[in-house]
């Protein structure tokens, strides 16, 4: 990556780096999860679809990680940040690391994350960070296509047979508690919101909810009730699933450090 990026602003507390990691890691971890579908999807079209979405997500993560590395200023590039951090150093949403489960689970997780990324990338169009704004504009276009795909499938499953409806409902109920984390306000968010770099996490909730309600209505699925418990992947506190995912993703660089091909 040689995209021109400005140097870190003076007085940066590390919040900017941390925020870029949050965005990058959600895309990276979800991309890795979707990659697991290759060879196992229910139909060739869905395999192509999910693998293409995975490629976009990993591409977005590369741009964000490369930029995060420049902000950090310690010489870590995108590969080092992806392959040599431990689970507690990852800042992705815990939702992104949840296993693929059945096809309904994969689709519901995708709808929930796609809708959040759409709101996020829209809001980042007002960022004072020009390079982040550019990455968001590019990603926004791709995410809209992902959301068309995932929401179309959720409607087909929810408004399909009794079996597909039951599975979609079960997946939604299972994954819903992980969505609260998206709108949980962290100190870093507040700092970046004040500096005009990123939206506050809570400001994304109304748009996300409207989008999700629209899809669920069409899918004849009910909005699950709110739950008080919140996960904290964005602060590095993860479910047990992330360790296994990273062990597979990082095994080559961990076994043969610096290996290239």
């Amino acid at each position: 990556m040689t995209a021109a990026a400005p140097p870190a602003a003076a007085g940066d507390s590390g919040a900017h780096f941390d925020y870029l990691l949050q965005l990058a890691d959600t895309s990276l971890v979800l991309g890795q999860r979707l990659g697991e579908v290759v060879g196992h999807a229910p139909a060739l079209e869905e395999e192509l679809g999910l693998a293409n979405i995975a490629l976009d997500l990993i591409g977005q993560a590369r741009l964000l990680l490369a930029y995060a590395g420049e902000h950090e200023g310690r010489g870590r590039d995108e590969d080092q940040l992806a392959m040599l951090r431990t689970p507690d150093e990852f800042r992705n949403l815990v939702l992104a690391e949840q296993p693929n489960g059945d096809f309904a689970c994969t689709v519901v997780r995708q709808v929930l994350v796609d809708a959040w990324q759409l709101e996020l990338y829209d809001a980042l169009q007002g960022s004072r960070d020009a390079h982040l704004r550019a990455i968001a504009a590019k990603s926004r276009k791709e995410t809209a296509y992902h959301f068309q795909y995932s929401s179309h499938w959720l409607v087909r499953l929810g408004d399909g047979t009794a079996e597909s409806h039951a599975r979609a409902r079960r997946a939604l109920e299972q994954l819903w508690p992980y969505t609260r984390e998206m709108f949980d306000e962290q100190a870093a968010d507040r700092e970046l919101a004040e500096r005009g770099i990123a939206p506050s996490a809570a400001s994304l909730e109304a748009g996300w909810t409207t989008r999700i309600e629209g899809v669920l209505r069409e899918a004849t699925l009910a909005l699950p009730p709110q739950v008080p418990y919140r996960w904290h992947g964005r602060r590095g506190i993860h479910s047990e699933h992330l360790g296994y995912l990273l062990a597979e993703m990082q095994v080559l660089q961990r076994t043969y450090p610096g290996a290239q091909w």
């Binding site: 995209a3 550019a134 809209a144």
Partner: protein, 173 residues
């Protein structure tokens, strides 16, 4: 000054000509210029050359290949030290395809994007509230989408309900 500017223009024209010969690895009948990937070509007073390239999809596996082929094409034209920079903004979309590119796609049986992306907010689903996608073989408008994702990130798979042939559609994205 005038002589220098004319010299820079001549260098840039030569570079553009070289870039028009660089083919897309997945659509070899299109050049990187036809695809709208070359954003700028700038010669400086010191004889250096900078070429701005827009990546297509974040996850397009051909991006690194395109970059390498652009570098090779420039080297072959005598620009061994040309700098290639990524240009992310404004993002590439199918709106950047030239008319020549659209005609070439159609000649090769790939339906060019129908309509325009305009704003990223106005992304439309294929077939939803837009002009019909015509079968490249029999021109029927009676077509359906088989898969939103095709053999490459830029294409979707459709089928004609009249002649029953499947065909590729260059996504409007």
């Amino acid at each position: 000054m005038v002589a220098e500017a004319a010299h820079a223009n001549a260098i840039e024209s030569r570079a553009w000509a070289a870039l028009r010969e660089v083919r897309d690895p997945e659509l070899p009948f299109l050049s990187v210029v036809d695809l709208g990937l070359v954003r700028h070509v700038a010669a400086d007073a010191a004889g250096g050359l900078e070429v701005g390239l827009a990546p297509t999809y974040s996850g397009c596996p051909a991006t690194a290949m395109i970059r390498a082929e652009v570098a090779q094409g420039l080297r072959n034209a005598g620009f061994a030290s040309a700098r290639i920079v990524d240009v992310l903004a404004p993002p590439w979309s199918s709106d950047w395809l030239t008319d020549a590119a659209r005609q070439a796609l159609a000649r090769h049986g790939i339906v060019p994007p129908v309509g325009a992306v305009h704003s990223p907010r106005e992304l439309r689903g294929a077939g939803a509230g837009q002009e019909p996608i015509r079968c490249p073989r029999c021109d029927s408008t009676h077509t359906e989408e088989l898969s939103r994702f095709g053999s490459t990130p830029c294409k979707a798979l459709h089928r004609c309900a009249d002649c029953l042939e499947p065909f590729e559609y260059f996504k409007c994205i």
